[in-house]
Amino acid sequence: MSNMLEVADLGHTYGDHEAIGGLTFTVRAGELVCVVGPSGCGKSTLLRTISGLVAPSRGDVSLNGSHLAVVFQDYSRSLFPWLSVQGNVEFPLRSLPRAERRARAAEALEWVGLSGAARKRPWQLSGGMQQRVAIARALAYRPALLLMDEPFASVDAQTRFELEDLLLRVRREHDTTVLVVTHDIDESVYLGDRILVLSGSPARLVADLEVPLPAERDQVTTRTDEGFVALRSKVARLLNVGKPALDVEKWAAAERESLSETVSS
């Protein structure tokens, strides 16, 4: 299997706060990889460097394809309120002819079960539906890699289960390669083919675990499966054992410094 994403010795430093401390990993084509780590460990920085929003201080990110797509946690701020649902899904497809744009948007909306909502405005939809629009927009772009930043952290538990299953279904149906960043251990085990466990700030790779579960998963039976429970405990131990995840003093110092910088400039 070919690699869709190769990350080599990726490091990023803000001022003298080291957010990521040299990460090396790959994501294979068609794989769903979850990155799990404690809050504030640099997961968001990792996502921003991979997506190209931030140039990393060191290391390389190489994507086997022309572009990737991102689904952000905060769907309400990531959908364009002045565009219809369809307009939002068509946004990444602006360079295509109108008819093809229409067709691809309609198709992607069908995948996420929102064909009926194409003409609505995003803010007329529930949170879960809005995040489905964001997922449809990302899928319509046909990315080499779908990056997701805590994609289900802002919806209620019921919706979260639905969206997790939706993600598993669409990526199976369309053979999408996915990298999900999450702080939720259960979610990482339920969704992932593989889990990358990160340590606290600066983020370092602690473990790269295969998930020994069948591709077909189910919210009730999978979560009680022995393999699921064992792996969940293992990830939890990896995340909690050892030093505290966050060096609070160091963070506070870095923050004071960045504050005084903005004031003086």
């Binding site: 190209g52 572009h67 991102v70 990531s78 364009f80 002045w82 946004f91 990444p92 405005r121």
Partner: protein, 247 residues
């Protein structure tokens, strides 16, 4: 509906007060014609082609002024709001120009532009620029960075972000700025017509009615119509905002 009824009651109360004050011996005779007289005269004037041409002249000049102000202020706001260096360089000049009352510029404008409609349009543009300019700049400050990140992730360049994200996102603020600017422009427009010896327009009509025959009922007809133009503009723009930028 209750709010609407209350609004009508308020207007009725105002008219009754005006009627009583107009007919009371407290004021010199004919200084304040009561509404019953003014509205009678209004009906007469509305059928007079001369009066209508004054109204049309003012409204037309006002619309031209608003369009020019938008054409100057929105692009300038986009530049000032997205390039901090330009904003810092122009801050002192803008802070000096902004508080100058447009009316204080009438003599200068008369010397530079003469007595034609250019003068009143220029001064109304000057007054209307600031609310639109500052609302546009403010809107860009409020632009959600996540929207920009989203656009960038989907392959949008700097210009694309400006026109596809920053501009639409600023639109509600810009429209509010235009609404405020329209009212200001109306005030300046009528003031310049009153003071600057213009030959046509609502302000000129008011001035003529007072200084010539001393027809205070006609003065008030002009005033009422000026107010009505203001209300129509304000409500119209508010409707546009609600209809087209309802987020």
């Amino acid at each position: 509906m209750r709010a609407f009824t209350r609004g009508l009651l308020g207007i009725a109360g105002f008219l009754v007060l005006w009627e009583l004050l107009g007919r009371s011996p407290l004021l010199p005779a004919d200084a304040l014609p009561p509404p019953s007289v003014v509205f009678g005269e209004l009906v007469t004037q509305l059928t007079s082609p001369e009066f209508i041409s004054h109204v049309v002249a003012t409204v037309l000049a006002l619309l031209i002024a608003i369009v020019i102000a938008i054409a100057i202020a929105v692009p300038s706001g986009l530049v000032l709001g997205s390039i901090p260096a330009v904003r810092h360089a122009t801050r002192a000049v803008i802070e000096f120009l902004r508080p100058i009352p447009s009316v204080a510029l009438i003599p200068l404008a008369l010397v530079m532009l003469g007595f034609g409609p250019e003068t009143k349009i220029t001064l109304a543009v000057y007054a209307a620029l600031w609310p639109i300019l500052f609302n546009t700049i403010y809107a860009l400050d409020e632009l959600d960075p996540l929207l920009v990140d989203t656009a960038r992730v989907f392959g949008t360049g700097r210009l694309g972000v400006l026109f596809l994200v920053a501009l639409p996102s600023a639109l509600p603020f810009v429209l509010t700025g235009i609404r405020l600017a329209a009212t200001t422009a109306l005030i300046v427009m009528v003031s310049v017509e009153l003071m600057a010896g213009s030959q046509i327009g609502l302000g000129y009509f008011i001035m003529e009615a007072r200084s010539g025959p001393g027809r205070m009922d006609q003065v008030l007809v002009g005033t009422v119509v000026a107010g009505a133009i203001g209300v129509l503009l304000n409500n119209g723009l508010e409707r546009v905002r609600r209809r087209w930028v309802a987020w």
